[in-house]
């Protein structure tokens, strides 16, 4: 025990000695402390000071000299207060040098300046003389502490305030991007993330969680973590992490489900950036789950007609009364699959049958059955018409008019899928009939083309036969004629050589 105590004492003494050396050597700080200026006050708690870096580490000069001339001698590398890009270059002398960072046993990775330079903040400021942001813009100049220290301006609970110093300043932001909103903080505070962050939860997402820190890219940049196709994986960094999400008691399978959904396939596999990502439904800075009554508004931002028809349908009232989330009840939320005719009707796989049965909600049961029959008939007729037109086309027949009508039929089928959301059989019948007229026209045209195809071949056969008979007759006539000529004239007619 005594031996252990002795060891600890020795270590403590060594620590004190080291600190003593550092402090004793930084003559700059000694003088500036007596002046009582702000930088020296802040620097006393700076992480760099605890690592043995003196004022001269950044400002140059001789920190061991009491003499001002010697301490601030330009020949000794004194640069005074660094300005503009020089600030970041001073930091990068160590922070972009992995070997040097290793000497300080720092866990901070090197190369931040390079990432900053490549980021949106690395572009030229409106002054035209320096980058938009320097290291000190976010980390401060003196009094820098570890990012894990709650006093740091980049500590999760403080990041939002740090970023909004500029990003909530409309006049400042206008000079760079007038269309960029400046209400991110207001929205963020309404989000689940923002509310928890405001209550002191450092685990929830803040600006840097989604946008990155040094390497922030424009949202239009495909490499950006918030580019539409990257958003699901950015959100899933936390939301698919069961350990991270454990205390929040929400599922962690959203990304898995979304990837399989019609939206996920369009966005992630087809790279269709018009398809919705997480933020399209949940919001981005104001992210949160949409309320039960606002689901149709969320989906309706894209599926406007469907939402409008649903809102004026009898289902709106029924869903509201039962507190059923509108679109989600039939289509699910994250795992929305392609809606087929099977979703409609009274068969076991149809969603209508979960509320309507021959004994319960009978009227709806009959309407669902009739509507399914209507959409099925249009689909079947359209498929048959397509097959006929393709057959005629493959046989080289001209079926442009039928092709046009097929487009009308396709349009009518799409319209019928929308009209289904009115849950009005008469309305649907009107649309389906329009489609059926188009398919009938296309089928008739294709039939005519196929009949014409047969007619052409028969016609060709007859024409070829007639021409062949004529040709053979002519051949026989020539033979007979020349035979007669040979008999009539002993010698072949001749003519004098030219």
């Amino acid at each position: 025990m005594n031996r252990m105590m002795l060891r600890l004492y020795c270590l403590f003494a060594l620590g004190l000695w080291s600190a003593g050396v550092v402090i004793a050597d930084d003559k700059c700080l000694t003088c500036h402390e007596t002046l009582g200026d702000n930088p020296s006050t802040l620097f006393k708690h700076d992480i760099h000071r605890t690592k043995g870096i003196t004022c001269a580490g950044c400002h140059g000069g001789n920190a061991n000299s009491d003499e001002m001339d010697q301490a601030m001698d330009k020949n000794a590398g004194f640069i005074g207060v660094p300005k503009g890009d020089q600030i970041s270059q001073v930091c990068a002398r160590c922070h972009s040098n992995a070997e040097k960072m290793g000497q300080f046993r720092a866990s901070v990775p090197a190369g931040q300046l390079e990432r900053l330079e490549a980021s949106v903040h690395g572009s030229l400021a409106t002054s035209g003389k320096e980058r938009i942001a320097q290291c000190s813009t976010c980390h401060n100049a003196h009094g820098i502490v570890s990012v894990r220290n709650p006093a740091s301006p980049v500590y999760p609970l403080n990041v939002v305030g740090t970023c909004t110093t500029c990003h909530a300043n409309a006049a400042y932001m206008r000079t760079y991007n007038p269309s960029l909103p400046v209400d991110q903080l207001d929205k963020y505070r309404t989000s689940v993330h923002g509310m928890r962050n405001g209550k002191g939860d450092p685990k929830v997402a803040e600006c840097a969680s989604c946008h990155g820190s040094h390497d922030i890219l424009s949202v239009k940049d495909v490499k950006s973590a918030v580019y539409p196709t990257n958003i699901p994986s950015t959100c899933s960094k936390c939301h698919s992490d069961a350990k991270h999400m454990k205390e929040y008691k929400i599922p962690t399978d959203q990304f898995e489900k979304f990837s399989k959904s019609v939206h996920g396939v369009a966005l992630l596999q087809k790279q269709d950036i018009s398809a919705p990502a997480c933020n399209s439904c949940h919001g981005n800075h104001g992210a949160g789950p949409p309320g039960v009554s606002s689901v149709s508004n969320v989906c309706g931002t894209c599926h406007a007609l469907n939402a409008e028809l649903f809102s004026s349908s009898p289902h709106k009232k029924a869903f509201d009364e039962r507190k059923l989330p509108e679109c989600e009840t039939c289509h699910s939320n994250h795992e929305i699959i392609v809606a087929t005719n099977k979703l409609l009707g009274v068969t076991p796989e149809a969603v209508c049958s979960s509320c309507h049965s021959p004994s319960q909600n009978v009227k709806g049961y009959a309407v669902a059955k009739a509507m399914r029959s209507l959409v099925d008939s249009l689909s079947t007729e359209e498929q048959q018409a397509i097959a006929l037109v393709r057959e005629a086309e493959q046989k080289g027949m001209e079926v442009t008019d039928a092709e046009f009508k097929l487009r009308d039929a396709h349009q009518a089928r799409l319209q019928s899928r929308t009209t289904v959301h009115s849950f009005d059989e008469a309305k649907l019948r009107e649309v389906v009939l329009k489609g059926l007229n188009a398919t009938t026209f296309a089928s008739d045209e294709a039939h005519s083309a196929l009949d014409e195809y047969v007619f052409r071949r028969i016609g060709l056969g007859i024409a070829t036969l007639i021409i062949t008979i004529l040709a053979i007759s002519l051949y026989l006539y020539i033979r007979r004629l020349e035979g007669r000529q040979r008999l009539g004239e002993k010698n072949t007619p001749t003519f004098p050589q030219r």
């Binding site: 020539i478 072949t492 050589q497």
Partner: protein
């Protein structure tokens, strides 16, 4: 009582004295030798030209020249007009067969040296008709105003624009402006249905009159008969009936081609769309197109394409004027050099066309 046709003939003869013409026709003979088969290609070309005239007039009943109407009018013709598809298919197939048979006719005349004195004018009129046939093909190709035709015309007129000094004005004249537009279409339509047929008819008239007046030429190296006389057959009716027989076979071939391989219309031309991949001219221009691809961009400080076009123009001129520089053949002497040139040209055209087609 005389038969009706005889009475009709007598009625005409009484007024225009057909006797001399009939006597002339009766005395006209066609030489018989191992190369006689080539004589028929002139007749087949004439037959195909007549088909073009007839089908062309039928197409004119429905065709509307203009950027907005041309494609639609052909589409209407092919889908709604009774036998419209057949007329268009036959017109398109005949156009190609016409150039093919005209080519064969030209080369057979060249190898037989039939252009020699006294048939220099017949050869020159034939060559001019051949160039006009290419003009017919080039101008007619654009008329449906489809995607392929549009870009082929763009490339074709671009090439014309490369010719030094006169190239640019010629290109502007052909296009009716700096770009291929509706103005080009109406211009090409005018060439195709009025200017070219007018000139062609005059040349064809001269060509046919000369052929009838001078008779068929016989090869230089053909052995003469025992008494210095050549085997022959009467032009009327023997040769004419054989011609008719071949025409019937060609007609049959055309019907089969038109039904089994109907000429496609493709997509309507869109001047703002990018050119479809692998755009090629018609097969009879392929050898020139392919040659221009092989010529380096710069050759002795001259632009490669300019050099290529000038070389083709010079070669075409030499070819047209062959009766005037091949003195040996005109004197009745054998000239193997001409055979070698002809052979080289045939092989060159065939190889370059095949390469152009397959790449």
């Amino acid at each position: 009582m005389k038969p009706l046709w005889r009475r009709l003939y007598d009625w005409v003869d009484e007024r225009v004295q057909l006797g001399g013409l009939v006597e002339f026709m009766g005395k006209k003979y066609v030489p018989i030798h191992r190369h006689s088969v080539w004589y028929y290609f002139g007749g087949v070309s004439l037959f195909l030209f007549l088909i073009q005239v007839v089908t062309g007039i039928l197409l004119l009943l429905y065709y509307k020249a203009g950027e907005e109407y041309a494609f639609e009018s052909i589409q209407f013709l092919m889908s709604k007009v009774q036998f419209g598809w057949l007329i268009r298919s036959i017109h398109s197939w005949t156009a190609n067969l016409f150039i093919l048979t005209a080519m064969i006719h030209m080369f057979s005349v060249f190898f037989e040296k039939s252009y020699r004195k006294p048939r220099e004018i017949t050869w020159v009129t034939g060559m001019l008709m051949f160039f006009l046939a290419l003009g017919f093909g080039f101008s007619g190709y654009l008329l449906p105003w489809n995607e392929l035709a549009f870009f082929a015309t763009k490339v074709g007129t671009d090439i014309a624009g490369i010719i030094p000094v006169i190239g640019k004005p010629v290109m502007i004249f052909l296009r009716g402006g700096p770009e291929v537009t509706g103005a080009t279409l109406t211009r090409f339509f005018g060439f195709h249905v009025a200017v070219f047929p007018g000139i062609f008819t005059v040349l064809l008239g001269i060509h046919l009159v000369l052929v009838q007046r001078q008779g068929m030429s016989e090869p230089l190296d053909e052995p003469t008969g025992s008494e210095g006389e050549q085997k022959a057959m009467p032009f009327f009716p023997n040769f004419l009936l054989r011609d008719l027989l071949l025409w019937l076979i060609v007609l049959n071939l055309l019907a089969i081609l038109a039904v089994f391989f109907p000429w496609e219309l493709g997509m309507k031309a869109d001047p703002f769309a990018s050119a479809p991949a692998g755009i090629k001219p018609e097969w009879y221009f392929l050898f020139m197109f392919q040659t221009l691809k092989y010529i380096p961009a710069k050759l002795l400080s001259i632009d490669g394409e300019v050099l290529g076009i000038l070389l083709f123009a010079f070669a075409g001129l030499l070819w047209t004027l062959v009766p005037f520089w091949d003195r040996k053949s005109s004197r009745g002497e054998r000239n193997r050099f001409i055979n070698y040139i002809g052979l080289f040209v045939v092989v060159y055209i065939m190889i370059l066309t095949i390469i152009g087609w397959s790449t």
